[in-house]
Amino acid sequence: MPLVWYTLRRLAQAVVVVFIVTVVVFLMLHSLPGGPARGILGAEATPQQIADFNHAQGLDKPLTTQYAIWIGQLLRGDLGRSYSLNATVSSLIAERLPKTLVLTLLSALLGLVVAVPLGLLQAARRNRLSDYLATAVTFVLFSTPLFFFGLVMIIVFSQTLPWLPAQAPQGQTLASVFADPAALVLPVLTGAAPLVAVFGRYMRSSALDNLARDYVRTARAKGTPFRRILSRHVLRNSATPLITMLGYQIPVMFGGALVVEQLFNYPGMGLLFWNAAQSSDFPVLLGCILVISIATVAGSLLADLAHSLIDPRTKAARS
C-alpha cells in the first residue's frame, strides 16, 4: 500500500503548509499599519463610528485572539463578511472561484495542447531554423508582462479588427460564462500565453533529455522509426513530468488570472481580489489568499498523486 502511505503523507504535509499559510497571511495583513475603518467608512465617519466599526469587526482585540477567532471561524467554513461588498466572503468566493477555475483550466489546457507538440518538435529539430523561431516566440511570450500582452490582444483583436469582445462574459452563473464563448477567447488566449512559453520550454528540454537517454538508443537499435520514437517513447516520458510541473504552475496561473480578470473585467476571484485590495477589504483578501493557497496546495497534491498514478515507477519508489 505504498501509494496510500504516500497519499497520507502528502496530505499531512499539505495540511501543515496550509496552516503556515494561514499564519503568514494573517500576520501579513494584520501587522501592517493603518486600518480599514477610515477607508470603509469614508472621510465623513466620526471617531465614534470608527471605534464602533473596529469593535464590531474585532479589530481592537489582540492579534492572537483575532487569529484564534479567525481560525475557529475558518474551521466552521466562515470566512467573515466583506467590508465593502455587503456579503459573506464565502458566498463571494463560492460564486467567483468556479469562474476563475474555468478560466485557468481552459488556459492551462490550451497551453498544454500548444506547448507539448511544440516542445517535442523543437527537440526533434534542435538547432534548426524552426527551433530557433519557436524558441524566440516562447522567450518573447515568457518575457512580456501579461498586462501588456493582454492589452495588445485587445487592441489587435477587439479594436483594430473588431472580431472579439474585449470584455469577458459578465454573467453570474457558470452557464452564462459558457453562453458567450466568443467573449472567452481573448482572456483564455492571454492566460495561456505564458503557459505556452513555460510548458514549451520545459517540454523541449525534457524531450531533449529523453532523446539522449539509453532507452532511445535501444529503440533506435531495434529499428524503431524516429517518428515513432518521438510519439511512442519520448512524448510520454517527457510529458509525464509535466504533470508535476503543472502543479508548480498553479500559483503562476492564479497570478495570471489576477491580471487577466482585471484586464478583461471578468468577475472571478482575481477581480474580487483586485477590488478588495483597492478598498482594503481585509476579510476578502484573507479569504481569497487562503482559498487560492489551498487550491494551490491541493493542486500540487493532485498533480503529484496523478503523477504517481501515471508513472508506474513512483508507485514503488515513493514509499
Binding site: P145, G255, T296
Partner: protein, 296 residues
C-alpha cells in the same frame, strides 16, 4: 611489477581542460546567449552612459511640452508631464536594472542559504523549512504584491526587499535539490567520516559546488525580477516621479493606449521584453554550458 604497469598505462591520463574554460567555450558558442549578453551590455550602456550624451531634464516637468510626438528635439516624444521619453528610458533603465539585479541577487542569496541548510540538515528541520517554502509558493506573488500595494508605497530599497522576499522560494528549492545530491557525494561522506563539521561541508563544498546552479538561478531570477518590477509598477507599487522605471513608464503609457501616443508604450514595452529575454537567454545558455538543472 607495478612500476612497469604504471609507466605503460598511466600516461593516458585523461587531462580535461579546466571546467571554467569548457563552460566559457560552450557559452560562447551559444549564439542566442551571446546575443543576450550583448543586449544586456547595450542596455546597461544606454541606461548609465546614455545620459552623458543625451542631456535631458528629468527632474522638472514642463507642461507646455507635454505629449509631444517624436521629433528631432525629442526622438521618442515626451510624456504627459513633458519629460523627454528617450531620456526617461535611460533613467527608467537604471532603476529597472538596479532593482532587478539587486532583487534577483537577494532572492538567490536567501534561497541558497535556506535551501542548502534545509537540504543538508535533513530530517524534521528540512521538513519544516521546506513546508515554509511550500507555503510561500502557495501564495502567488502577485497577490502578495497587490496587498502590499494596497497598504504602502515602499522606497527603492523596500522594493528590492519585497521582491527578494517573494522570489527566493524557487532558488531555495533548486538549492535544496542540489544539496541533496551533493550531500551523498563521496567527498562529503568522506569529510563527515573523518570528522569535518557541517559548516565546513556547506561552506567549503556544497555552496562552491553549486556555483553553476546558483549562477543559473541568479540569471533567471534577475529576468524574473525585472519582469516583476514591471508588474509591481502596474499594481501601483512602482518608484516615484520624477524617478521612474520601465515598468512604470509602460503602465503609465498603457493609459494612453488609445490616443495614438505609441511612443509612450512601444519603447518601454520593447526594452522590457528585450532585456528579460536577454537574461533568460543567458540563463539558458549558462544552464546548457553547465549542464545543471533549474528552470527549463
Amino acid at each position: 611489477m607495478s612500476t612497469v604497469v604504471e609507466s605503460q598505462f598511466e600516461p593516458r591520463a585523461l587531462v580535461a581542460p579546466s571546467p571554467g574554460r569548457v563552460m566559457l567555450r560552450r557559452f560562447l558558442r551559444n549564439r542566442v546567449a551571446i546575443a543576450g549578453a550583448v543586449v544586456i551590455i547595450l542596455a546597461v550602456v544606454f541606461s548609465f552612459a546614455g545620459p552623458l550624451l543625451w542631456h535631458t531634464d528629468q527632474t522638472h516637468t514642463d507642461l507646455t511640452a507635454a505629449n509631444l510626438a517624436p521629433s528631432a528635439r525629442h526622438p521618442l516624444g515626451t510624456d504627459a508631464v513633458g519629460f523627454d521619453e528617450l531620456g526617461r528610458l535611460m533613467v527608467g533603465g537604471r532603476t529597472s536594472l538596479l532593482i532587478g539585479l539587486s532583487a534577483g541577487i537577494l532572492a538567490t542569496v536567501i534561497g541558497t542559504v535556506w535551501g542548502s541548510v534545509a537540504g543538508y540538515a535533513g530530517g524534521w528541520v528540512e521538513a519544516v523549512m521546506m513546508r515554509i517554502v511550500d507555503a510561500g509558493i502557495a501564495i502567488p506573488a502577485l497577490f502578495i504584491l497587490l496587498v502590499i500595494a494596497a497598504i504602502a508605497q515602499p522606497n527603492t530599497a523596500g522594493l528590492v526587499l519585497i521582491l527578494g522576499l517573494v522570489s527566493w522560494l524557487v532558488p531555495s528549492r533548486l538549492m535544496r535539490a542540489e544539496t541533496l545530491s551533493l550531500k551523498h557525494s563521496d567527498y562529503i561522506q568522506t569529510l563527515r567520516a573523518i570528522g569535518g563539521s557541517h559548516a565546513r561541508a556547506i561552506v567549503h563544498h556544497i555552496v562552491p559546488n553549486s556555483v553553476s546552479t546558483i549562477v543559473v538561478a541568479v540569471t533567471f531570477q534577475i529576468a524574473d525580477s525585472i519582469l516583476l518590477v514591471a508588474y509591481v509598477s502596474y499594481l501601483g507599487l512602482g518608484v516615484k516621479s520624477p524617478d521612474t522605471d520601465w515598468g512604470g513608464m509602460l503602465s503609465q503609457g498603457l493609459s494612453q493606449a488609445y490616443n495614438g501616443r505609441w511612443w509612450l508604450i512601444v519603447p518601454a514595452g520593447l526594452v522590457i521584453i528585450l532585456v528579460v529575454c536577454a537574461f533568460n537567454a543567458i540563463g539558458d545558455g549558462l544552464r546548457d554550458s553547465f549542464e545543471v538543472g533549474g528552470r527549463r
